[in-house]
C-alpha cells in the first residue's frame, strides 16, 4: 500500500487518511470495518494529512463519522514513540491488519460524541467535513513543548463535544502468538486489564477539564509530576505501556535484529548475546510488578536496558523506549505460572518484534544524534 509518512513536520509522524466523501453513507451503515478499511486504503487517490492538535479532538465529530480516522487516534500529533496508533505503520506484513472482531467492538463502545442527548443529523456531518478540510490546510508551525497545553487552538472547542482515549487492539489476532502467548492470556490481558485501564483513564479525565489538551505521551509526563505522581499517572502510563507492549511483539517474532539496530546493540552491549543475557537477567531480578525496556538514552546517546516498577516508563526520563517486556504477573501467569525465566526467554526467542524496534529506532534518530555527523567535505 502506498502511504506517505511525513517525518519532517516537526512533531512526529502524522497519519494519512483518505476520507471517502462519496462513501460516507456506507461507512455509517457499515459494520464490517475491515472491509471498509481495505476499500478505503489509498489505491489511487491522494491522502490528506489529518493534523489535529488536541488530545480530545473536537473532531470527535469526525471520529464518529470516519471510523477509520478514529482508529488512527488522531490525537497523536507529536512525539508519540509508539508506532502503535498508526495503523499504516504497524508491522503488518500480512494482509489483514486488524482482527475485525475487535474493530467492530471498538466502533460500538468507544468514542462517544456526547452532544448532550442530540442525535446525529445530516447537518452535523457536513460540519465535520469542514473541520477536516480546515485542519488539513494548517501546517504545524510550532514544536509542542512538554506540558504545553493547547487550549489556544484557533478552532474553538465546541462545548457539547467530548472525546476519550480509545482502546486499540493489537495488530494481530489473539491466537496469532500461540503457543508462546496463549489466546486466553491476550483476551484477559488486553480485554480486561488494558481495557480497564483505558476506561478508568477516561473516567478520571471526564471529571474535570484540567488535563484537557494533552496527548497521551504528554499526559504521562505531566501526571508523573517529576516523581510525585498524580492519581491519573498509573492508569495513563499503563495504557501507553500496554499499547507499546503489543507493538513490541509480533507473530513469528524473535531472531535477531537487523541493520542499524544490530550494529548499535553490538556497539553498546558488546554482542547481541550479551544484550540478551542482560535483558533476561534484568527481567528475573525485577521484584514485584514492572517492565523491562530497551531504551535509547538521549543524554548518553546510547542504548541501555532499563527496569521500571509498576507503571513507570522511560518516557518520564525523556528517554526513548524501543522495546518493552511486561513483567507484571498477569502477563505470564496463565501460560508460564511462576517460571519467569522461561517467559523471558520465549519472549526473546519467539515474540519480540525487531521490526517495530527498528522503526522506532529510525524515528528516534531524528531526535538523537547517535554517531558522528557526516559532514561533507567541500
Amino acid at each position: 500500500m502506498d502511504m506517505d509518512l511525513s517525518f519532517g513536520l516537526g512533531n512526529g509522524p502524522m497519519v494519512l487518511v483518505r476520507p471517502n466523501y462519496k462513501k460516507k453513507h456506507d461507512l455509517l451503515k457499515s459494520t464490517r470495518i475491515t472491509s471498509t478499511l481495505i476499500r478505503i486504503k489509498p489505491q489511487s487517490q491522494r491522502c490528506i494529512i489529518v493534523t489535529t492538535r488536541t488530545s480530545k479532538p473536537h473532531l470527535g465529530l469526525v471520529l464518529e463519522f470516519y471510523s477509520i480516522v478514529f482508529l488512527f487516534e488522531v490525537c497523536l500529533v507529536d512525539m508519540s514513540w509508539s508506532c502503535s496508533n498508526y495503523l499504516c505503520l504497524s508491522t503488518s506484513n500480512t494482509g489483514s491488519v486488524i482482527s475485525y472482531n475487535e474493530l467492530t467492538r471498538l466502533n460500538s463502545c468507544k468514542f462517544a460524541c456526547v452532544s448532550e442527548g442530540q442525535r446525529w443529523k445530516r447537518q452535523d456531518l457536513n460540519r465535520a467535513s469542514n473541520i477536516l478540510a480546515y485542519s488539513s490546510l494548517k501546517p504545524p508551525s510550532f514544536k509542542i513543548d512538554i506540558g504545553q497545553r493547547r487550549k489556544d487552538h484557533p478552532l474553538k472547542k465546541p462545548r457539547n463535544i467530548s472525546a476519550y482515549y480509545s482502546l486499540k487492539p493489537p495488530s494481530y489476532k489473539f491466537d496469532a502468538l500461540e503457543p508462546y502467548m496463549s489466546q486466553r492470556t491476550l483476551e484477559v490481558h488486553w480485554g480486561e486489564h488494558h481495557r480497564g485501564y483505558v476506561e478508568t483513564l477516561n473516567k478520571y479525565l471526564a471529571k474535570d477539564d484540567i488535563l484537557y489538551g494533552y496527548t497521551l505521551d504528554e499526559l504521562i509526563r505531566v501526571t508523573y509530576n517529576n516523581g510525585n505522581p498524580l492519581p491519573e499517572f498509573n492508569v495513563a502510563a499503563q495504557v501507553w505501556n500496554h499499547d507499546f507492549f503489543w507493538e513490541s511483539m509480533q507473530p513469528g517474532g524473535g531472531n535477531l535484529p537487523i541493520l542499524g539496530l544490530l550494529q548499535q546493540i553490538e556497539k553498546d552491549f558488546g554482542s547481541f548475546s550479551n544484550f540478551r543475557e542482560e535483558f533476561i537477567e534484568s527481567a528475573l531480578t525485577l521484584f514485584g510488578s514492572g517492565w523491562v525496556w530497551l531504551v535509547l538514552k538521549r543524554n548518553e546517546k546510547r542504548l541501555a536496558i532499563a527496569t521500571t516498577t509498576n507503571a513507570v516508563t522511560p518516557l518520564v526520563w525523556d528517554d526513548i523506549p524501543l522495546l518493552s517486556l511486561d513483567m507484571w504477573e498477569h502477563a505470564y501467569y496463565l501460560d508460564y505460572k511462576n517460571d519467569k525465566a522461561w517467559y523471558a526467554n520465549v519472549f526473546m526467542d519467539h515474540l519480540v518484534s525487531w521490526n517495530a524496534a527498528l522503526a522506532r529506532m529510525a524515528r528516534a534518530q531524528a531526535f538523537v544524534n547517535l554517531g558522528e555527523p557526516k559532514i561533507p567535505v567541500a
Binding site: 521484584f287 514485584g288 505460572k337
Partner: protein, 307 residues
C-alpha cells in the same frame, strides 16, 4: 527452631501463668501437630536456616474458594522459592543465626533495604497468610476483637469496606493488612502523654511488594495477598471477587483474635518496661554519690589519691 511462630518467641514468665497462655498454647499445639519438620538434623551443626512451613491444612482444603493448583504453585513454588533464596542469601552471614523477624528488621535497614529483605519479608508474609485462612472460614469475629472493630471502624461492615478498599487500590503487587497499632500518635518512639486504652487502635493498611507492618512496628493481625500470583489462576483479573471470597469464605477470625491477644500482651509488657525505665530515670536525677567532687578540691575529699 526458627519456624516457631512469632507469638511463642515473645513469651515471658509473667505471661505463662495467665489463662491466656493456656488458650494460646492450645491453639498453637493444634497447628503444630500438623507441621512437618523439614530440616534434617545434623549432629553438631547448628544451622539456623529458615524452614518452609506448610499451611495448617491440606492443599486442597480450601477448595472451591482457593484451588489446589493455586496452593501448589503459591506455596510450593513461590513460597518455597523465597525460602530457598533466603537461605542462600543469609548463609554464612551474620543474618544466619537470627530469627526471621530479626532478619526482617535488620535487612529493612530503616528503608534502605538490603537484598535479603524481600525474600525474608515474603517468607514471613506468606506464613502469616496461610495461617490467616482456614477451611470453612469466614463469618464474623467475636469477643474482644469485635468490640475493638466496632470501636475503631464503626461496625464490622465498616472494617470490611475499608479492607476491601485497601486491597483493591493497592496498585501493583502488595498486601492488605489489619493491624494493631499501639499509640494513637503516629510518631515513633513518642511516649504517649495521656495513655489510655482508647489509644490502641486497629487499622487497615496496605503495603507494596514485600513490605509488612512489622517494619512500622505495628502488630499485624490479618493479611491478604494481592500479588497477582495469589489469585490469577482462580480469578484471573477479578481482584474484587477474590477479596470478597477471602473475606466471606476463607478468613479465620479465631487466629486473628489470638493474634490480637498476643499483641495486647506485648503492648502491656512494653508499657511495663517503659515504666521501669521511667523509674530508673527518676533515680538518676538524684545527686551522684561523688557530688563532693564538685565543691572543692580539698585533699580530704580524695582519699584514694594519697597513695
Amino acid at each position: 527452631m526458627a519456624s516457631v511462630t512469632t507469638i511463642s518467641s515473645h513469651l515471658t514468665s509473667a505471661f505463662i501463668s495467665t489463662p491466656e497462655f493456656c488458650r494460646l498454647s492450645q491453639s498453637l499445639n493444634c497447628s503444630q501437630t500438623q507441621r512437618r519438620s523439614t530440616r534434617k538434623s545434623i549432629p553438631g551443626k547448628i544451622s539456623a536456616s529458615v524452614d518452609l512451613k506448610p499451611p495448617p491444612y491440606e492443599l486442597n482444603a480450601l477448595e472451591p474458594h482457593m484451588s489446589k493448583e493455586t496452593l501448589e504453585y503459591h506455596w510450593g513454588k513461590h513460597h518455597r522459592g523465597y525460602v530457598n533464596n533466603l537461605n542462600k542469601q543469609i548463609e554464612g552471614t551474620e543474618l544466619d543465626e537470627m530469627s526471621l523477624e530479626s532478619i526482617i528488621s535488620a535487612s529493612y535497614n530503616k528503608g534502605d533495604i538490603l537484598p535479603a529483605f524481600n525474600n525474608a519479608a515474603q517468607v514471613w508474609n506468606h506464613e502469616f497468610f496461610w495461617e490467616s485462612m482456614k477451611p470453612g472460614g469466614g463469618g464474623k469475629p467475636s469477643g474482644e476483637l469485635l468490640e475493638l472493630i466496632n470501636r475503631d471502624f464503626g461496625s464490622f461492615e465498616g472494617l470490611i469496606h475499608e479492607f476491601k478498599l485497601a486491597a483493591t487500590t493497592q496498585f501493583g503487587s502488595g498486601w492488605a493488612w489489619l493491624a494493631y497499632k499501639e499509640h494513637k500518635l503516629d510518631i515513633p518512639n513518642a511516649r504517649n502523654p495521656r495513655p489510655s486504652e482508647q489509644d490502641k487502635k486497629l487499622v487497615v493498611v496496605k503495603s507494596p511488594n514485600a513490605i509488612n507492618p512489622l517494619v512500622w512496628e505495628y502488630h499485624p493481625l490479618l493479611t491478604l495477598d494481592v500479588w497477582e500470583h495469589a489469585y490469577y489462576l482462580d480469578f484471573e483479573n477479578r481482584r474484587t471477587d477474590y477479596i470478597s471470597t477471602f473475606l466471606n469464605k476463607l478468613v479465620s477470625w479465631e487466629t486473628v483474635s489470638s493474634r490480637l491477644e498476643a499483641a495486647k500482651v506485648l503492648v502491656a509488657e512494653r508499657e511495663r518496661e517503659m515504666e521501669e525505665i521511667d523509674a530508673i530515670d527518676d533515680m538518676d536525677t538524684m545527686e551522684p554519690e561523688d557530688a563532693d567532687m564538685y565543691f572543692g578540691s580539698d585533699a580530704d575529699d580524695f582519699p584514694e589519691d594519697e597513695e
